[in-house]
């Protein structure tokens, strides 16, 4: 196999770490610090610890792992930092350093080894669906599930989405023709859309079809690598990147579209570190909302008939979209829908509290952040909270369920898809 390029190491960030002037601005903005209050959790402390780890002044002991695990990767500290220290990237590099020196946590290992093997995922998804009745019980009157039995790492109270009857990629051929003169768009499905939320993918297909695009859904694609990076497993992330480079490279699509804010971050920001081939691929990656807005879907939506009964919908902005400067496209699509009424929510930009594996390791803190979010949804008076990241949807739905609220979380594309379907 071709030699894999590597992600940056802590040493690559030395100069940027030196730029932290310890001013303390990050204390005002870190959601986790807001809940836990200890300096080791906030960006300034993490940079200090990363620096000490790099200089071997401190041991990569379990307490250090624990401190580095307490990061949502929301990037708010980076946006507010007077010297723009990339603390989110430094935290991931520190996790890789700790894993390299100490080995991975059981959770990180089992999750990433699963995500590394798409075929195994397919197989397991099939049997897991059959086993679901034994393992899970339905949350009354909700679409979600809760565990019947205690399981390691997953809180029994957490509500989880049900597995799709058929994974999204199995439902469709690899190539779906549109109009011959239109571009070829490759769809990056992401694991959550494929196995848990195929309705998001269906919405995307309807929207892309409405613009006449040709769509390729490469069969050999895999996970974007973000969960592996989050667990400090740079090797798996690099292998996944190589797989996706092969899967998407061979089709030469005009653009590669992501349906998930985190996948977008995985295939752009984190891909670029790996070398020129990856960078070239990353250049062609575009978030679905951004693509649809730039290609004029707003006008198509505006021409749909007005609905008589319009549900009130509010928007949550995923951190990974905002960090890429993409807060507006999802809102524009919703504003153009004649089937809903868009309402404002306080702190729409605040992190939902999922943070990938964060919510697994630190469910209580995650739940507190989610509770604030659920309350904001309630106060907005919305019936639905729409967002552009399946991870956020899972967390928002759990937060709403925990607060015993009737509102539902969904993807912008589900609403777009429904509106387009009513037309046809």
């Amino acid at each position: 196999m071709k030699r894999l390029d590597r992600h940056k190491t802590l040493a690559d960030y030395r100069q940027q770490m030196d730029q932290c002037v310890k001013c303390g601005v990050c204390r005002a903005h870190c959601p986790v610090f807001g809940e836990e209050g200890r300096e080791a959790v906030v960006a300034r402390g993490k940079v200090t610890l990363a620096h000490a780890l790099l200089n071997k002044e401190i041991e990569p002991d379990p307490l250090l792992s624990e401190n580095f695990s307490k990061c949502l990767q929301c990037g708010k500290c980076v946006r507010r930092c007077p010297t723009q220290v990339p603390v989110d990237d430094i935290v991931l590099a520190a996790r890789r350093e700790i894993v390299a020196r100490r080995g991975q946590s059981l959770f990180g290992r089992s999750l990433t080894s699963l995500l590394r093997r798409p075929r195994l995922m397919h197989l397991l998804a099939g049997s897991a669906r059959r086993a679901a009745r034994l393992l899970f019980r339905r949350v009354p009157q909700k679409s979600g599930l809760r565990l019947r039995f205690p399981a390691p790492f997953i809180d029994r109270q957490r509500s989880l989405p049900a597995l799709a009857k058929r994974p999204f990629r199995r439902r469709h051929p690899e190539f779906i023709a549109g109009q011959p003169d239109q571009p070829i768009i490759a769809l990056f499905t992401g694991c959550m859309v494929n196995y848990l939320y195929p309705e998001i993918g269906e919405g995307a297909l309807k929207a892309l079809a409405a613009l006449g695009f040709n769509v390729i859904i490469p069969k050999d694609q895999g996970c974007c690598g973000l969960p592996a990076l989050s667990a400090g497993d740079g090797t798996s992330a690099s292998e996944l990147a190589a797989r996706n480079l092969r899967a998407f490279g061979e089709h030469q699509p005009d653009q590669i579209v992501t349906l998930c804010a985190s996948c977008h971050s995985g295939l752009t920001h984190h891909f670029k570190d790996l070398g020129p081939d990856y960078e070239a691929l990353a250049e062609r990656v575009v978030d679905i909302n951004d693509l649809l807005v730039s290609q004029g879907l707003e006008e198509v939506l505006q021409q749909l008939p007005q609905a008589t009964q319009k549900p009130k919908v509010t928007v949550h902005t995923p951190c990974h979209l905002r960090n890429s400067g993409l807060d507006e496209p999802p809102k524009k699509l919703l504003a153009a829908l004649p089937t809903i009424e868009l309402v404002k929510m306080n702190k729409a930009n605040a992190c939902c509290g999922l943070g990938g594996t964060f919510s697994v390791h630190h469910y209580q803190t995650s739940r507190q952040l989610g509770a604030a979010k659920a309350n904001a949804v309630k106060e907005s008076g919305a019936d639905l909270v729409a967002t552009a990241c399946p991870g956020c949807i899972m967390q928002l739905q759990d937060s709403l369920d925990q607060a015993d609220l009737p509102q539902r979380a969904c993807h912008v594309l589900e609403l777009v898809g429904e509106a387009l379907e009513e037309k046809s």
Partner: protein, 460 residues
Amino acid sequence: MLENRIIRIIEGIVGEQHVSTADTDRLCYSYDATQRQHRPDAVVWPSNAKEISLLLKMANAEGIPVYPRGAGSGFTGGSLPIHGGLALVLTRLDAILRIDEENLIAEVEPGVVTRQLQKAVEALGLFYPPDPASLKFSTLGGNVAECAGGPRCVKYGVTKDYVLGLEVVTPQGDIIRTGGETMKGVVGYDLTKLLVGSEGTLGVITKIILKLLPLPAAKKTMLVLFDSIDGAAQAVAAIIGGKIIPTTLEFMDGTTIDCVRRNTDLELPQAARAVLIIEVDGDSALIEKQAETILKLVNPLGVVNTWVAANSEESEAIWQVRRSVSPSMRKVNPDKFNEDICVPRSRLPEMIRTIEAISDKLQIPIVNFGHAGDGNIHVNIMVDTAEPGQEQKAKQAIEEIFAATLKLGGTMSGEHGVGVTKAPYIPMELDPAAVAYMKAIKKALDPNNILNPGKIFLQD
């Protein structure tokens, strides 16, 4: 390092989970905004005055230094544990205990973040004016210990003007109350004033009673560009001579304007060599009139351009110019020596000219901005310490700037305090008898030198 026996005692006082000797925690409480590092032997997070009292009694018995600490955002090293011992983190004492709308007071614990109190009182139509630049993350305990200032103090004064009373744990572990809840009170020595600004050397603050004001109905922000620093300084004199005290009178010198030029939507022409940001607050009809008068007063003084904010967004755009100063400065040079001298406001142009001369002579960039209304200048000596000789030059500049400040009747710290960074320069400002007087107070109250040792005064 502390013996295990001592750690067991501390665990007994605060609970096992609220004390740590782990390297990660010792590192994370080793620094503040000075970027110097001194690791404590242990970090303690007490939750009330009783626990702090027991900790200080134990520290006295065992001879262990105790370093109280809020957010660790100080610029002079006031909370650095330079002799090890205990870092006493006060952020768990974070309750706003009450807001009394009838008597216009608030009672808070020291770990409350300044902005959090402001939001709480503003929701009731009240106002807590002190607004240090760090208000979104610094704690009220730290503000009181250092007597923090901010842009609004031209009109409203600094932290000490709002502290009516305190609950304090003395260095030997007694819990006392100073001052009270009344606007007047003259029984005994004014210990409240002694403790405000004492930099955590005379007691640990555990409760604060603060004076509040009614929230001004409206405010108006203006940005005026001048062709020289003299024009800006004369403008300050003209406004105050015109019997108007604005809420803020912030200035930036030419070097600062050069730094921020690319970071703002407002056009800052090359001809502009000084900027004043002027804000007035109060009744809306009154402030319109005040703004007009101010512009009339300053117009003949070499004004290049003027913006008057029509709404809060435009006001925000003006303040953004001021806020972009700190992040822009690193483009000049990577390392910053940040001093906060204060001179009588009429001497401001002379002071700036002296600093410019020092900058030229030593060939190092110095960026000046600050609170013109009260003569408080943030002097930022920008160097690259990686280059040989630069750090030495910066030190020489600091010494020469302090000497010039004192010659003009000023002080070497307007709002950052002495801590460790300014301790070597104390003899320049205070005469030996005054230093002896201060040391006698410290010695009487803290005979074992347990509380925040090594601060303000150089070691004997």
